[in-house]
């Protein structure tokens, strides 16, 4: 294991107002350099909130949050975010969306054009660079969402249920794509999902979260060998781990239910 890429200590997040909501309580987390971590849990468990705090979109109400020893204060290109609905700029074509980051950072075209072309090739969209987002399928849009982040060479990839809105078939091919990309780049990834299969298939470590208030319930190390592919879903060990996690989640739900 390398040095800590992400370290979170005693993190709290409370949304104020007439009825304050405690979204996260006492989160402690350490994610190693190059590790693929999944945040797994039902909706309302605060997993997306945790990701937003890591991205710097929101500020915590307590505790500390550091990425490569730098406290998180605001969003930045070293922490690339892939959104659930891709959130591409619809008025820009694929190429313009992908080079948006390098451009606003003031890089010269020769510094990013080759890399942008390479990244589009990596996600299989090199022939669609002049297309507008509306002309692409949901899966292709999400490939652009991944490409525009990779082109900035982020140190950490933050993915918020990126395949949640896709149909089952497309989701599988996107998972395979992400496995291939990760195998090549070995980046630190924090991946939010409510899909147990997806978490086991992709991650090195799974943090199971539970709601009200959101906290980390348990941690599972996934020992499935790398490089992985969709075949991993049917390998020995997969179902055992899945059963254990499901059992844990059911237990949490039972404990959470009002008596």
């Amino acid at each position: 294991m390398g040095a800590a890429a992400i370290s979170i200590r005693g993190l709290d997040k409370v949304y104020g107002g007439a009825h304050p909501v405690e979204a996260l309580r006492g989160i402690d987390l350490e994610i190693a350099d190059g590790e693929f971590a999944a945040l797994l849990g039902p909706s309302g468990c605060g997993k997306s909130t945790l990701l937003n705090l890591l991205a710097g979109f929101e500020a915590p109400t307590g505790g500390s949050l550091a990425v490569y020893d730098a406290p998180v204060a605001q969003p930045g290109p070293e922490r690339g975010v892939v959104f659930q609905e891709a959130a591409l700029f619809p008025w820009l074509n694929v190429w313009e969306n992908v080079v948006f980051g390098p451009k606003v950072q003031g890089l010269a075209p020769r510094e990013y054009e080759e890399r942008a072309r390479e990244t589009l090739r990596l996600v299989g969209l090199d022939r669609f660079d002049r297309h507008l987002p509306v002309q692409l399928s949901g899966g292709m849009r999400q490939r652009v969402g991944i490409a525009r982040v990779l082109v900035m060479k982020p140190r950490v990839l933050l993915m918020d249920e990126p395949f949640g809105a896709l149909d089952a078939q497309t989701r599988l091919s996107m998972q395979q794509l992400l496995l291939d990309v990760w195998q090549k780049l070995k980046k630190t990834v924090v991946f939010v999902t409510h899909d147990i299969d997806e978490a086991i298939l992709l991650a090195d470590v799974i943090y199971v979260m539970s709601p009200r208030p959101g906290r980390i319930q348990s941690r599972y190390r996934v020992e499935m060998p790398r490089p992985r592919s969709l075949d991993t879903l049917t390998e020995a060990g997969f179902n055992e781990l899945k059963r254990a996690i499901m059992h844990q989640i059911r237990h949490d739900i039972a404990a959470d239910a009002p008596a």
Partner: protein, 288 residues
């Protein structure tokens, strides 16, 4: 061979036969729209009878209007006793110029103002109340003020046009800038955009569809404003001719003038729609 050729000709023939009814449908749609105006004009013409007027000699028939329009547009041979002879084009140009200037001024002020109000809470708190207080005052109520301050000059008209068009442009742009998808803003900040880049590369393009809505409403008001102010505050243009012709009892010119205003308003609106379809290709594709 022959079978292959027959098979190959089939797919080519199919779209042609499908295209024909589509063209027919378009024609019948256009034709339907013409029924009412043609019927009204015909009834109007027939009601005029041999005198060529309706409503006891007050309103001339379409053919009389066309005659008057011809003289107004191209002049008449012989002695130039008709004050409207051959002045149509220059008056159209006067009014159009004023609309273009006033409307341009409204865009120049309204779009930045709207983006700032929609985007920054501080600007909204600073400016929004003033705009909401001024907005209920109709531009017609500004006429005496405008004449007193600017006199019977071009700028009086331009001021009214700009003011009238400004409100819908500001209000719609504000709405557009306020409703920008939160994830677009987050994505841009994540990629390292600073406040300026956020404003020009995300908020402004995202607000453009609303801006164009504001422009179309504003342009309509601009034409209203130019006619009203030309009737009172300047001595040229379609509005001036309209009021002047009324005073001397030339209803044929009045009606020709009304149609001219409608035509100019329609054409300028088409121009905005054309520009919109060019600028907002993504939007057009989205709605398909």
């Amino acid at each position: 061979m022959t079978r292959g050729a027959a098979a190959a000709s089939q797919p080519a023939a199919a779209p042609r036969s499908a295209a024909a009814p589509a063209a027919e449908r378009r024609w019948s749609r256009v034709a339907l729209g013409w029924i009412l105006p043609v019927a009204v004009l015909l009834a109007w013409e027939l009601a005029g009878g041999s005198e060529g007027t309706v409503f006891h000699g007050i309103v001339p028939t379409p053919s009389k209007v066309v005659e008057a329009w011809k003289v107004w547009a191209f002049g008449e041979p012989g002695l130039g006793l008709n004050p409207y002879s051959g002045t149509w084009w220059s008056n159209v140009v006067f009014s159009t110029q004023r609309v273009a200037q006033g409307f341009g001024l409204a865009i120049l002020l309204g779009v930045p103002l709207g983006v700032l109000i929609g985007w920054s809470k501080l600007t909204a708190q600073l400016l929004d109340p003033s705009i909401q207080w001024l907005r209920p005052i109709p531009i017609t109520a500004w006429l005496p003020f405008s004449i007193a301050v600017f006199g019977i000059k071009d700028f009086g008209a331009i001021f009214l046009i700009a003011l009238g068009a400004l409100y819908p442009i500001v209000v719609n742009t504000t709405q557009g800038a306020r409703d920008v998808d939160r994830n677009w803003v987050r994505a841009a900040r994540m990629m390292g955009a600073n406040a300026n880049q956020l404003l020009f590369r995300v908020v402004l393009p995202a607000a453009l569809p609303s801006v164009f809505t504001g422009l179309r409403i504003g342009l309509g008001i601009a034409w209203t404003a130019v006619i009203v102010s030309e009737m009172v505050a300047v001595k040229s243009g379609l509005g001036y001719v309209l009021w002047d012709a009324y005073y001397v009892g030339r209803m044929d010119v009045v009606i020709a003038d009304m149609v001219s205003i409608g035509l100019a308003g329609y054409l300028s609106d088409r121009l905005i729609v054309f520009i919109e379809s060019r600028v907002l290709t993504w939007r057009r594709l989205q709605s398909h």
